[in-house]
Symmetry: C2
Subunit: 232 residues, 2 copies
Amino acid sequence: MKDKIKLICFDADDTLWVNEPYYREAEKKFCALLCDIISENDCNDELLKIEIGNIGQYGYGAKSFMLSMVETALKLTGNKIDPVKIGKILELGNELINKPVELLDGVEEVLKKLQNNYRLIVATKGDLLDQERKLGNSGLEKYFHHIEIMSEKKVENYKKLIAHLDIPVEQFLMVGNSLKSDILPVIELGGSAIHIPCETTWAHEHVENHGITTERFLEVNSIRDILGFFKP
Amino acid sequence: MKDKIKLICFDADDTLWVNEPYYREAEKKFCALLCDIISENDCNDELLKIEIGNIGQYGYGAKSFMLSMVETALKLTGNKIDPVKIGKILELGNELINKPVELLDGVEEVLKKLQNNYRLIVATKGDLLDQERKLGNSGLEKYFHHIEIMSEKKVENYKKLIAHLDIPVEQFLMVGNSLKSDILPVIELGGSAIHIPCETTWAHEHVENHGITTERFLEVNSIRDILGFFKP
């Protein structure tokens, strides 16, 4: 695969910077608001169900998460919640939006080395403003030729992206932490993909057993391992 | 101007299809939820203030509007709102998201005629998923070479867009209903712009007196008037 690759496309959340742990923290605080009526586990399950049910309507990102928390709180309390707690939910969401961008270990070193020999881009899903802000604050924008913020990361979305980039799919490599969003659709299209598993993965992104056997797929422990492979 | 133009860029909300009247309708219903404590006018003023204050944090679109309505309701009632009404606010937002796409008069006819002689694109701000959904439901996607969903429509955003399109600014014409977002920044950059005023304009987009005198600017009553000008 490595001889063909001309363009490397990076996922952002939990590939370039920390994201999921901040959501886990917000969920914990959310469930604490309702701890008098429901256990943390059950509260998380209910929230997840509502979030997944809302993806088609709201998409991904912090605002969708906020709206799903409000809906979950109303549902779990049978509309009897103290409105002060609704205000707290908005605060939790705003805290999440304002979190500093914390780059994952090795990210900048890897981008710096790869930029000379490859066209680098970012493809991230989520909220438009949120992701633009994180990229701006990350200091990484200068390494990328193109930034694509997608409403979904399914096969047809990647197809459009690759058509827009005007390259054959064989030259396209995706790097990311989510098998479901970053790896499987790209492999299906005939591209290459490197999976960097992340300690914290959102339940909605979980894939039990990927069963990918093609040599266009690789799994590594850290973003630095890409360098060993590509010898930039 | 018309001899130079090669690319025509359309705003979407209230240029291609109805948008603001749906928001006005939702605001009316929102204020009705609070009519026992505040007049509709004062309620709208408060909501607008909170919406504008949240643009930097939430951006534009239905989800931001929903979060601002929740915040306004909590503020106006001193956190004493009946939580059932918070549920109604979420319903109002969901209704807004699910509104059918109603094309403005003449839009399809104009796009059909212009597509042969010009590269047509859309540049819209708002929520990524929302705008993708509206474009999909509009049936207009086939007329456009490119669709740009922007978090803001300021000078620097247009600069990036025009760089991405790889054309000289003299060939770029923007068509839209908002002087603030569609016209002034494009004129400032040296592009051309046609303003089609819309009956309902969001207070945040209001411009008192534009004072544009350049011949790169035109104001017309309806999208059909563009045809007379370009004689496609």
